[in-house]
Symmetry: D2
Subunit: 292 residues, 4 copies
């Protein structure tokens, strides 16, 4: 089938390539002239036969919201917009309402896989009405990993459910990474343990903790023994924050994922104001020395 | 080679079988007459040619300590004892010292794999002197999963390092499981998400969170949709507790694994005394109703 | 001076009384006819001489927003509205903008003290422009506890800063209560400790942990020894949630207060879905029994 | 009455002074010649009439254990030893058993109050047999704050219960301090809040969070506005660690106090190995930049 793809960065560019390899026609647009197939959204739309399907893969927030609005002007009833970016699920309701007024369908699709997706395929989580999801199924099948569809694709629920599932996926990812990381730190701290990398590698097969993230940690430890010189500084995309905020709105206890999130905040602080306060308090009541 | 194996329960029995399949001779002893090959430890020892290797696979604590002491009486210089149970790593130093006095070698070996180990192989983490580890290598090779040795086996360090690595492995396991569990709870709580099992299954390939534990969770959700009727009550083996206690002794922050551990404690409480105190306090200052 | 007070519930009613005791004239309005002084907002406004000051003490959210809008219709330039309820600080910006268009001043004021405030005075935290705060100072002085003004009153900052400070105050309160609660649970669990209430009481004077909350816990333990029969079920007002959500928005690590919040969520669950997932997982890989 | 006091440091020296002010006779011994009243333990013992009471106020661990053993040699049946240091409660059972063999009584006594104790009195928590506690009551009454005995003294339970209660007291202290500290950090981070010190000060009277620690934080903020230049580096005495380890041994969930403890560990790390691992992992799967 035909697909319009807007946004050809690290993710979108690879996705265009994977969809093409599956035999579909993709017309790509990007702000950067050197990667795009057409020079305007108008051209992109006029290059597709109705009913059109357009995949939006631009940064979440304003860029996505503006792109969706523009498509609302350019597309026709029966066409379909898929937001494959990392939008907050609350934006999906706005997008859907805006497009539905014009008879244009909307599907939100969380996409996992990072830079490995081109070769391994992308995990896909969709939200929307069944007929809209069905309309784009050939594209989903092209993007997802080989194997049974349900092991790399889900129609998770109503509009927003795709981004919601992806958000939770990323929240889980924070928790998983931090669990390995705490184990790494403890093994490193213990003198009787001489081969920390070897421990992680020995867990690669047959153990309960085996996973793709474990394999990546082994790879990182092979490339940089002991992680010497790696900075602790870790940014966080919005999705970890949204996950915990959603947990709070829904009264779901989330101690593990929030701890992993807070540790990222901490990694970016030169000096923790909270610990300054604790240190100052101890100085007050105990005559403990306060370092200045 | 020949091996004596003491303890033929869920783990030991399967391990005897896997070692035999690899072509080694195993003489097994257990308190239960129907599973054992010989009726006494003396018989087991006299059935092996020197230098002997004896694998102890009995419950940690007193049973293991007593078995090691008995072997110290029965074995000869040059023989080797392997403790494959879930002993605390501090016990290993005691076992090693006791046996070393008699010229008997000692290796501690953490074993991961549960009921799946017979077919998939067991992840192995050893501690001890190189010559002792080498002596038992054919057995380790029989037990570990197919593939490169280093992906299912590690000589982690000095005596105790094997159990230490296994302890940390289990601690990590707590954290991983709880990260998935928090994601499960949040997806379940959100109305727009209609197919929670489908979400987890869609992460099976191509996503960052794919793992063996994820596959098991999908399996559990297939067997018991929505986990209806599953009790939250969750026990904890010692190793999660030891991991956090070691973290504290070594000044390693461990918020994720400890949160997972505390959640298990909580799951076994009818009524949380801490929350009773909070409820009582609120009643005192706010005139909030306290449920009785 | 004169004050109009809207909302004469548990808090507002006592505050009217405390302000009157200080010699001010208060005209009160409430939906409930039996407690109010006038029957309509119009009557309330016409009973006050310009420049008027009206204190809004109704539930946060829609009731407060509607009341502020109504006052915007009834009041005149130079008048002042104070929102003393538990509004989210983001609402304050909306209220202020709406009233400023009409030349009406706005101050947000967080109020602490609960049912004890009538006698002890109320802790007050204000946000707004200096001239507006100054206009209401006689009322603030009437409400706050005896003693130096700065020990019971603060002009915390711009519009919204008062409710923000109150929100953080409540978040801290969650953490403080839970710290005592954890200590209570541990003392109760330890057999050698025979007099748990006595321990808390012995901390009343001279120790580092002495506080008003400690005194209340002692009182609760005197009234209900061992807290026998007190339910763990604990609700949460919005402010604990807002505090953690604000921490996340501002990249502030908040492990203690969030843990206290999550424990409240937990206290209201019959069965924790997360722990069901953990239990189910353990059943899958370990052959551990899963309680049904 | 007469008392022998061993250890005249920051705590012991002030306690000798406070006991003397209450009219008792104290013979003090210390390693430092300039502060002691007698030059040997023998001299101290011979200066007291039977039945003697000797208060040990030396560092926990080896110094205390050795002092108790020496006293076991020097004292007579009917005499009494009080350990007022910060011993682990498990040491108390050893001390008691050693002394009981010789007919000497033993009481453990946790002491709170820091450098303020001389003037304000010390909070006291005792463990031991009733007759031993009774024997030393005049000393306890001298040390504790003015007011009803039960508001500054408790006979908490059996031998060890005094140090146990003090340990929990310190654990609670960690949690309380961190709750205020998190609030401080959030208020500081929020631009609309202009007077953070003023907020804390305004909570001094009438609010739910008022406490001695709050007063100290206000004092610290007065001395060092914004805590500018205060280092986050915070040590931890053993008692916070012991509290969490005891919680784990007794299956008591302790998320708040453990979070406060972990934050202290974190404050002393230049680079968090756990966060290095997270950063390295993100680099592997996401092509995210890793800072070196």
């Amino acid at each position: 089938m035909q697909l319009g793809m807007i946004g050809l960065g690290k993710m979108g560019g690879n996705m265009r390539e994977r969809i093409r390899r599956a035999g579909h026609e993709v017309i790509g647009y990007d702000l950067a002239p050197d990667v795009r197939d057409v020079d305007t959204l108008e051209e992109l739309v006029s290059g597709l036969s109705a009913p059109r399907t357009v995949w939006v893969m631009v940064p979440a927030g304003k860029p996505t919201r503006e792109t969706v609005s523009q498509l609302g002007e350019l597309l026709e009833p029966g066409d379909l917009v898929i937001d494959g970016g990392n939008s907050h699920f609350k934006d999906d309701a706005l997008h859907d309402a805006e497009l539905a007024e014009k008879g244009i369908g909307y599907v939100d699709c969380g996409v996992s896989g990072g830079i490995w997706g081109l070769e391994n395929g992308y995990g896909l989580m969709c939200g929307g009405r069944p007929e809209h999801v069905e309309q784009a199924m050939p594209i989903f099948d092209a993007l997802r990993p080989e194997g049974p569809r349900e092991e790399g694709f889900v129609h998770a629920g109503d509009v927003g459910a795709g981004h919601y599932a992806k958000m939770v996926h990323n929240g889980i990812e924070y928790g998983l990474m931090h669990a390995y990381a705490e184990g790494f730190e403890l093994l490193t701290a213990k003198e009787i343990v001489k081969d920390v990398k070897g421990c992680f590698q020995a867990w690669s097969r047959g153990t309960v903790v085996r996973s793709w993230l474990l394999d990546l940690l082994v790879k990182a430890l092979e490339e940089t023994p002991g992680l010497e010189g790696v900075s602790e500084y870790t940014t966080d995309s919005g999705e970890g924050r949204w996950t915990v905020q959603e947990a709070i709105e829904n009264a779901v206890p989330m101690p593990v994922i929030s701890a992993a999130l807070f540790a990222r905040f901490n990694s970016r602080q030169e000096n923790s104001p909270a610990m300054q306060a604790v240190a100052a308090l101890r100085g007050q009541f105990g005559g403990h020395d306060v370092k200045m």
